[in-house]
Symmetry: D3
Subunit: 340 residues, 6 copies
């Protein structure tokens, strides 16, 4: 099994059941998730030896987060214990024209306050083949930004392929600070994942005119941005998922990729949404798996899109699908007929 | 805060969870609601000083109804306690071509048996700006019809604007009785809300040929009726929501209004339904809020339609939306994208 | 009340709640069902004197299955108690492009190991008017195949009309074995229900080119097959439901029939799915009821299709609809408007 | 199977889950129950051919009540359909020193407004061996009192043994009216069940000094009353359950009986309560079963006490226990050890 | 209605359902609570005009907390909105010898970071009769300690009676800091509530030898401490609840009080626990209500003990009992018999 | 971390929620468990490197079982995938004098049909320190008995300490067969765990007169048996838990041990039961942990008893307690006071 490493925050997610509004809820469904943790679980599902690196408080809530990672096959031996709290996000499930809402309460989490000394990156990246992180991790705090760069240095030292999901979070930092930090980190990155908005906010690229709200996509704009990104940072691949948000209940879902040579737009899926959180993470992990399993970048992209289309039908942040399930969908069977 | 008053019945609603049929249910979800109570809650959500006037039994079930009103910001100091029972309605949630079913058990409720002496309408309407009632309240019993008229007289004495939602209920009275009572009450009304069917059954207007079952709308018929209504009763505005029932799961939703001058048809929303009960009430309260906050009648109508489109995505009778949420939808963002 | 008899297996169904995947489930919803049991319940709902014949273990789980049959009006006095276990099937509810999954665990069930001596078929078929079974029952075991033929002989002796739902189950037998057993049983059958795939796998007829996955229907192929079936076995009617699987959430649903004279294709319904298991059984029982209540084969077919369209909106294997509810839909009201 | 008949009301019970107070409840657990219905279910559980006679509204809630009776083996063919509503009772589960609370909403129920013409008592009591009713049935309304007497006359005409559970309900009538009606009905009764309080309130007997609140029992008082009752009405047996209410969570539970000869006090059980509603009914039905199955009155009493002790551990009004389970407890095994 | 004011923090409480351990939980029950909020709700239940003063974030979670306070009758107009987050506490329900566990995550809450300028204490205490706070509020932060003293000064200025519940929280401060702050605040206090441990940790009094773990009480020790407290701070009353923790499921519960004259020990209740959180707060509020309604200190204490005994049977932090329910228990009926 | 190995079956457990009877259940709570799996989880909880050896079907239900083991820290790399099914047991939760009921459906499970070739015992026992199995494993089938012996041989070859829990299961084999198989296996065993009944049924020892039903313990009898067992098989320790079953809700719980020298009876705990399944397994694992962590046999026994007393308060088969939680109880704090 190939060793893959992700570094980031895993949060307690508290979501209202049955489309309830926050003010109606008398209980919250409990799952744990976060960009990189979601990628770690997907990669474990696909049979890789998946390690998640983070820090969690030494209490039962932290333990519960670890247990859920273990449940879905992630190796948690590099999860440091300590600090004050686990980050939280509250999720209200939307429907139709009512959007889902996320309320973050993640300041001062254990990973946001972790230091480089909490981790032995040489040990962590020994024999690893891939390292994935997102723009959320360095945004958590100044220490976290340093931590991320140290991880990247170690990864490169060990010859590990690196992917990033740009993932701009406006609650965590400003575009100015994001660009300062992220531009510096891009030199370690081989595969860059992120939509136009992220590319602008975290790296300063000016996108073409895509109005994501109306759901119209400007592939041309993407192609243009991707070329700029490739040129500036010499990424091996630049990819992005493409969401057309018809409503909180129905989305169009596809992706595009650029390998320096060719710009490719995948098949598009119309998805009836059960839970769209983690959609982007499942896309990233599908692509990573695709490349690691020897697919070309187009097939890897199609794998990523199909995997993440399925994610939209699954409760929670984690994408619980196997390689064979994704391949069934790739073969063209989106009919949803009962499998007996 | 502007004081607004509603008078009517609040019932215990017992609904089957998860689309279950009545014969399958081993539990009922419990909410409390009713036409005027739903309006009262919406108006409180929008920041008005909303008073609900009713009578509830002096037992814990009556108290629970009061508590839910208070929870959502309604002032319940004019809710009299006494009488025998709270009215009940059972709700089976439909799906696709299977309709939702309502079984009423509301006879002999405390409010149906309340008398004029239970309420001090002079106190109630002091400093009030708006009074809303529906055709359900006078239909509850002969005492309730008298009570309604007394409330209307007091409202007018205090210079309060009055709106009515015609809301014909075939289980409560006949068209003949309805027309006898309601025609008399219309002299107190400034804003009349009701679709063609209600206009015919409660006021005797002959509608044009609208086949509500197939969902085809005859706006012309509405225009014609609205003119007649305006002429006969000198309403300031006549408005109606317009439902196109594609199925129990999906509806088209818009509204029309007439101010004596112009007939206006709002934007239409296609809604994926979570719970459509209270849709009309949320429309009425959106319009009332619109007028009270100084909008013109078209903008008030658009506010009412957007608010009630959102209601269809919310569990229970009450519409839990804020002014800013409605305004976001009015600004055109029906994409349902996650709000972080 | 007309006496109708069904023979088959009733299983414990363990399904994940709220679209959960198997690996996420911390509870299973419990219902009981199976092809013939589902037919028995539907026929009881329609007011027939419906007897289900089977064998269940003498423990509380077997009793619970009986209790659910009784609850929905089925007469269980011919259910023998004994043997080792109740068959189980696990059901994971799919959504959108993610298919539902069924995992069977039905080997060695009490009915699979039952013998002819467990049942007094002369008593069972006394005064009966209809007998229904499916291709699942003889597939359960060699004893079950013998049992089925003995039941059929007794039914014929008592002048009972016989229907079969071919229902090929690949986990239970091979096409070769199926054809050997089923071809022999067809001589007792008056009404044959089954799609092209079943006709091929259980009876060896070669279907035309229908690609059920893409949802395109070749009615011509059905017509051709139905004629062959009619000629070979002299069935009175050959019928089939027709499913167009757009996704796990949305299906097209209609049916076709041949009476030796005319080939008829019913109205088609687009259904938003709550639970599609038992759809075929509810179709068969609707048709049986139609014929038993004196309808012609086209009207009976329309009744069956409408009844089973409604089934897709109902949780569990059983179709909880009454004759009047089906007739409302047949009259054209698929609008799903609230019934008060 | 021996035919037994009960006549009375079955209500919808709405109870708060998990010890919640009424004002906290967001859902109610739904079961159906009532004095005589509970007896009917117990007798069906014990293998008797148990018929319940009542009237229920012709809506789905009425049907759900019937379905639950059928589920547990009761024959419902004598349940008339019609009238306006099903009676309701709300139940808040107490704990420790906090008492359970019942709020009744049963006025104007279908059975309270039923007439003698709704039932064919000659048909009902044909071949019957036992008839059971309670003091609740004649208290429902004047018509119900007449109905009860007509049933009793028919029962006697057919030579059926009659038992009554006195069950005084202060919300339904006054002691004066109760004594007027009940004294008259006693001439039809063979077995009288009821505690001192009931004997006083419904029949006017003066009990000795039993302070039921403190849990002290005065068996001597019971013996005295029982003798008076026997003398006045020539009952074959007079019996009563004896509850020592330590708290809402723990009770002592036994019974006493008098056969004209001997006064007998049963074994006492200390019960940890899951649900005590229906305890008295399960006691009555246990005794009835005991006598019908040929036990002497002491053994029948012990059977009734053991059966009803078990009832306290079962959710809902109905006692779901089999003869063999009661017998296991009678043999002395109250250890609660796991049965594998 | 008498106006009463409480100042403190209301937290989101996330508790595991059904005695689950944290690592098992897939959902959390959601209630809101906190020492002073719990008192505010109790006082509202008793019919007082109860105002809660605090600060909550301007998001939907903050709104939900307000809604729950309103639901139970608390006036929330003095709750300021702003700041970063609502404090959280996680609760794992214990059973038998397994203790309940609380994990706090309350740092940086809106109220902890509130300033004196957020509140207009002159307005708040106008016409107020009682002010209650606890040792938790000044422990939240340095600002909170200042805020508390300002509130106390204003209360005294308006002639308001002041009570404190000492409530030492080891996660919030050290005994040294507690004594420094609390000793200073005691000069504003009329009624002091707190057990020996609190008296030692927050005020430095040396208790006698009470081993609270073994459940043995040393009333003498209490008497001694109370006298010291009275002398030093001239409290009007010093009171404490007395818990004998037999296990997480069963406790003994009583209280003692000293009025400078007499030391009084209340009746003791043995409680089967549903939820013991908030037990102390319900005791405090019962005593406050007692005094405010004119009872002498012994009767007020008995009222407080009875009220809080009932609290242990109620889910959540809030005590949902009415004056009449407490009085029923005071009259001696702890039998838990069903109230119909 | 010390490597420990267990071999056995893990089953799907389907239990009724909230004390429901089987015939009432509309859902089952889902956990996975089994004697050896339960031990494996406990040992993982205590920080050991715990490997579970078994075989599970290659479907999602098998995967779900593995995921739950991983969640709680068990290494599942030696779990072979294949065969036909996972064994099932149904559990009805008892209360008071109503016993819990278990219905087994475990025949033909994957592990029962596994062969020696499915496992590489040399690899499995490399570096292992302890091997635990129970009398259930060899009882599953003849192949399973062979498998067990092969495992034992390998364990001994690698110098691994071996413990057995005798655990007689009457549904799996006869005493004759049990004694034939088990007597032979005892030569590999160092630590024998089992009560008198097990000792008699599986090994043929005649116990003294212990009437387990009445809860009276004859320690003398145990001492006598233990001596015989020690003499015959040269066990290092013979231990047994001692259950006094007062009712399904309350048990007394202690243990005794013999080391060839001294007979020791532990502290006794009175437990209020949440879930007693797995109590014996949690006792065995506590003792094993005690010995492995260097305690003497008495301290190890006390650790085992305290750990398993806590288990009775935890839902599911698995004992979710940490070493420090057990040690807190050992230190004498059974007061269940809230830990903040």
């Amino acid at each position: 099994m190939k060793k893959v490493v992700t570094l980031g925050e895993i949060m307690l997610r508290l979501s209202t059941p049955r489309f309830e509004r926050f003010v109606q809820a008398e209980s919250f469904d409990v799952v744990y998730g976060g960009g990189e943790a979601n990628v770690a679980v997907s990669l474990a599902n696909y049979g890789l030896d998946s390690y998640f690196v983070s820090k969690l408080p030494k209490n039962e809530i932290g333990q519960a987060a670890i247990n859920q990672l273990r449940r879905y096959g992630v190796n948690t031996e590099y999860v440091e214990r300590g600090g004050n709290r686990i980050g939280i996000y509250y999720l209200e499930s939307g429907a139709s024209m009512r959007p889902s809402k996320v309320v973050y309460d993640r300041a001062n989490s254990s990973i946001a306050e972790a230091s480089v000394n909490d981790f032995d990156f040489d040990e962590i990246f020994k024999d690893a083949e891939w390292f994935h992180f997102s723009g959320i991790t360095p945004a958590l705090s100044e220490e976290a930004a340093i931590l991320t760069e140290e991880a990247l240095k170690a990864a490169k030292k060990h010859g590990v392929t690196v992917s990033v999901d740009l993932n701009y979070r406006k609650n965590l930092w400003t575009p100015e600070r994001a660009q300062e930090v992220m531009t510096n980190l891009m030199k370690y990155v081989d595969v860059c994942i992120g939509n136009e908005e992220d590319a602008e906010l975290t790296l300063g690229f000016k996108p073409g005119k895509t109005d994501v709200t109306t759901g119209e996509l400007e592939l041309a704009g993407y192609q243009n941005i991707f070329k700029q990104m490739k040129e500036k940072f010499d990424f091996k691949y630049v990819i992005s998922s493409l969401r057309e948000s018809y409503s909180a209940s129905d989305n169009g879902w596809s992706a595009c990729a650029y390998d320096g040579n060719e710009f490719y737009h995948s098949r598009k899926y119309d998805v009836r949404i059960v839970d769209r959180v983690g959609g982007g993470d499942s896309f990233a992990s599908g692509f990573i798996y695709g490349i690691l399993s020897g697919k070309n970048f187009k097939d890897a992209l199609e794998f990523g899109v199909a995997a993440s289309a399925l994610k939209h039908t699954i409760h929670g942040d984690f994408n619980m699908v196997t390689v064979s399930e994704v391949e069934n969908l790739l073969k063209g069977d989106a009919s949803g007929r009962v499998q007996r």
